[in-house]
Amino acid sequence: METLFFILSWTQPTINALAIAALSLFFLWMLGGRFLMPAAWGRFADSHLVYSFRRDAVAKGSLGILLVLLVASFACPWIAPTNPYDPASLDLMMAQTPPAWMEGGEPDQLPAFVLGADDQGRDLLSTMLYGMRVSLVIGIGAVLLQAVLGIAIGLTAGYLGKRVEMLLMRLADVQLSFSTLLVAIFIGAMFRTAFGVASYERLAVPILICIIGLAEWPQYARTVRASVLAEKKKEYVEAARVVGLPAWRIMLRHILPNTLSPVLVISTVQVANAMMTEAGLSFLGFGMPVTQPSLGSLINTGFEYLLSGSWWITIFPGALLVVLILSINLLGDFCRDVMNPRLYKGM
């Protein structure tokens, strides 16, 4: 138990570091790939994906917005006016300060309180940026977890077939028909009893990653299984089997690479879905605690003040969440249209 605790408490910084590393690698690749690996870069630049991307204003726009949001969220310790995690930033005197341009705003304190303050007097913009980072970390982490789970299960089911497949896919069906939100709430309730509310709040990020990952793997499993079934019929698999390659090798080296394109396509949309689920959980109060709010929990706290007229605590984080999810979804749509894999219809 203690070890588990230890591992889990390290998850968040690790994921943060990983995300920053991935992001900087991406930029490095964008900038330096041209010179370092001209062949690979050329192949990538000539691909159908890039070609269509260049001609698609919506895709370009959403990638641009997404990149800005990603950078802003992971760079929040440096660009946010205040640190909302610092207890010193709580100032109840400033609670519910309206945005700077409104009456009662604090234009002389800029850049702090541009968008006003939340119910505890934290600068809303900073809290939103930190909250977006939490949402993104959970979304990406959960998708990594569900991808690993789903791909493993989908491959196993699709390749082995028969009883194993029936069992696993029935499980996926049941879980899907319950909807990921409900399953996530159930798993969350179990975790909460297992850990106790205090440590649940302390470990909220890794726990939410686990919850959402466990709740959403069926999407991947189904997609992978569907393409495994399609691939299995093809002759190269038959050939590999005739040659006498072991099953795991056929699965990993021959079938898996061919299932990756639909997996990639659903991954973008799944990140959006995972963030949506996280927001839902946090809105219900089962997710991130107020001390470390995600966008969902910010909307939740703002809800109480909406009726009394302090609309900004809810509307700004909500709008940010919508823009974030929308840009991811638009990119996902673009990928789906271009790669056009036969996805499982269950969405």
């Binding site: 029935r170 309730a189 839902g280």
Partner: protein
């Protein structure tokens, strides 16, 4: 047909078995029946005696079958908070949720079919692009945020619609079912929650109908129908739509079941006294029996919906019908 029905029922039973197993293990690990009966402040002896009396020291398998036997007889344990049988609590809350879900499902069906078909037939027209654009935005807005925006606009700013509760209710069936459909106030209260609930599923349905319809329009039999000189209306509505219906029913059935899960968010925002709100409170209060009961009831509901959907599918699809007849 009968063989098909029996097979479906058997599958439904297996699924219910799985759900009961999960429910039992939830109750076994998370819940504490003794606490549910006596609260926290009782001595260890009373506790031990109660455990023995409740059969909590029996082998797990015996306990499971006892749980199953009780569940089949409608006894899903007592709610800690309400101090009533959990099933009774659920049944009293169910009409509110069912009315909400029914209204949304109706709206979704009525809107998604024409929108999806129109945008499939005329993919390049401006209206189709608007429909698709709006539905992409719709998918990206969390249901609770839609709900909050509605309240902010229609209740707070404009003051047109009430923001919480169900309004004036009319008892039906000797008070077992309280409906909001029959009064103006009830309907006014229903507008925003059902709109919010609709907003989450409608885009998915429009896309589903559109994708299926576009696929069907590519088929040879549609071209053939044109070659026979049939009218556009007949080609679209009889030849293409009938074939679109089959996959839409299967996927749609499952998705409509998911609406029930989204009532948790909607009902919380609008303070709608239904199953969703009850579920949220039960999680907050640690009311395990009620949670498990909710899961079993909702699970049963899903299974019923899915089975009905499959049977409808079987009736629409001539292939299943005939295979079943043999």
């Amino acid at each position: 047909m009968i063989a098909f029905l029996i097979r479906r029922l058997l599958q439904a039973c297996i699924v219910m078995g799985v759900i009961s197993l999960i429910g039992f293990s939830l109750r076994h690990t998370v819940g504490d029946p003794v606490r549910e009966m006596y609260g926290m402040s009782v001595s260890a002896e009373v506790r031990a005696e109660a455990r023995e009396r409740l059969g909590l020291n029996d082998p797990i398998i015996v306990q499971y079958f006892r749980f199953l036997k009780n569940a089949v007889q409608g006894d899903l344990g007592n709610s800690l908070f309400y101090q009533k049988p959990a099933l009774e609590v659920i049944l009293s809350k169910a009409p509110a949720t069912l009315e909400l879900v029914f209204t949304s499902a109706l709206l979704i069906t009525l809107l998604s079919v024409p929108c999806g078909i129109y945008s499939a037939i005329h993919p390049r027209r401006l209206l189709s692009r608007i429909i698709l654009g709006v539905s992409t935005v719709g998918v990206s807005v969390p249901v609770f945020f839609t709900a909050l925006m509605c309240i902010s606009l229609f209740s707070i700013t404009l003051g047109w619609l009430p923001s919480f509760g169900r309004g004036e209710l009319t008892p039906l069936f000797g008070g077992a079912w309280e409906t909001g459909f029959l009064t103006w106030s009830g309907i006014k209260h229903l507008i925003m929650p059902s709109f919010a609930l609709t907003s989450i599923m409608l885009p998915l349905f429009i896309r589903l109908v559109r994708a299926e319809m576009m696929e069907v329009l590519q088929m040879d039999y549609v071209k053939y129908a044109r070659a026979k000189g049939l009218s556009e209306r007949r080609i679209y509505w009889v030849h293409a739509f009938r074939n679109t219906l089959l996959p839409v029913i299967t996927v749609g059935g499952v998705q409509l079941g998911i609406l029930i899960a989204f009532t948790i968010l909607t009902e919380t925002v609008f303070n709608w006294k239904g199953l969703g709100g009850m579920f949220k409170e039960a999680v907050d209060r640690g009311d395990t029996s009620l949670l498990v009961a909710y899961m079993v009831v909702v699970g049963a509901l899903f299974v019923v919906v899915n089975t009905v959907v499959d049977v409808i599918y079987g009736m629409v699809n001539p292939m299943v019908r005939v295979v079943g007849r043999k």
